[in-house]
């Protein structure tokens, strides 16, 4: 939990609200360094050791496998609570992402990838809203690079297997474009498909998780500061930051589920694009 003791930089916005507190004991907003805790097991340079994020990734794998094994064991015709939850989650990804986007004919081989991606990201996002854990693994950009990298290699490989080398023509040359502007369109398509796509795919998840985490940390630090250090009537303002923090916390749960859905939806769309016959 960030407190004002080890925070470094002043925050212009808060300084506006607290003109009396600019010199000593002023409020300092949590920075990016405060969100990345020191490694549990340090190794070589900074950021290379075994960190809390890695521990959480392992924990999420254990949790997800335990949940689905427990939900699938002793399957009954009339499902119990557990089996219902498992079937509901699986059915949601299978039907509303896989079947609707990739198409009824060839969505089946990709269901395992989509389901495991969805639940891995969902659980790792929700870690940000579980008290005591309070750290979405995906707020560290390395996690998102790895996930988007797997998907990137997967859909390019899929396109190459389906079309051979002609795939690059399928992916970049749209039909029905006047010859005069074709080179420009192809250039834009190459950049947007093969370079910008994996970058935005990973950074979308990372940026929303990081900013959500920062907002909650900011309102927590602001509440702590206003209640403990601010003088007189300013203490009452802490109620506002606290209420805002609770509101953002609930909003953040919605965003975490939504971003897991968006990531998997985009994965399905990329897969569908690789399978399509023309651009």
């Amino acid at each position: 939990m960030p407190n004002d003791g080890h925070l470094q930089r002043g925050n212009a916005l808060i300084a506006l609200a607290l003109p009396a507190e600019t010199e000593n004991g002023s409020f300092e907003a949590p920075s990016l360094e405060d969100l990345h805790l020191p490694n549990i097991i340090p190794w070589m340079g900074e950021g290379a050791g075994f960190s809390k994020q890695m521990l959480l990734v392992l924990l999420s794998v254990v949790l997800i496998s335990w949940f689905f094994v427990a939900a699938a064991r002793r399957g009954k015709l009339v499902p119990g609570k557990f089996q219902f939850l498992g079937e509901f989650g699986y059915g949601f990804v299978r039907n509303s992402v896989g079947k609707d986007v990739i198409g009824e004919r060839d969505f089946k081989p990709f269901v395992p990838l989509l389901v495991s991606l969805f639940f891995f990201i969902l659980v790792n996002n929700l870690f940000g809203s579980i008290p005591l854990i309070q750290l979405p693994t995906t707020s560290h950009v390395g996690t998102c690079y790895a996930l988007a990298g797997i998907v990137y290699v997967f859909w390019i490989g899929l396109g190459l297997r389906k079309h051979g080398l002609r795939y690059f023509k399928v992916a970049t040359v749209p039909s029905g474009v006047p010859k005069a502007i074709l080179p420009l369109i192809v250039l834009i398509e190459i950049i947007s498909t093969f370079f910008v796509r994996p970058i935005t795919h990973s950074l979308r998840l990372f940026a929303t998780m990081l900013s959500g985490h920062l907002i909650i940390a900011l309102s927590a630090a602001g509440t702590a500061y206003l209640f403990l250090d601010a003088d007189g009537p300013l203490k009452a303002l802490g109620v506002l930051t606290f209420a805002g923090g609770v509101g953002m916390y609930l909003f953040e749960i919605l965003i975490q589920v939504l971003q897991a859905y968006v990531f998997v939806l985009l994965t399905a769309i990329y897969i569908q694009g690789s399978l399509a016959e023309d651009h």
Partner: protein, 71 residues
């Protein structure tokens, strides 16, 4: 009064305007569509979220560049 911070944040704020307007337009069209034809909701939902994701990309690039390009 002294104000600290980086101008990059103002740049990011400006880039977020475009993304905000775009996401608003996408969901306005989605809500319009569903209000007129509620049974189309299943078809429109993935399209709406795809539009959200593509529009949001610009704001994300703004956020990243505000970190990457030095203060």
């Amino acid at each position: 009064m002294e104000v600290h911070g980086s101008l990059n944040l103002i740049g990011y704020g400006l880039s977020a305007i475009g993304g905000g307007v775009g996401v608003g337009l996408v969901f306005a069209a989605y809500i319009n569509g569903v209000a007129r034809q509620p049974e189309a909701q299943r078809v429109l939902q993935p399209i709406a979220f795809l539009g959200l994701a593509l529009t949001e990309a610009l704001a994300i690039l703004g956020l990243v560049f505000s970190f990457v390009i030095g203060a």
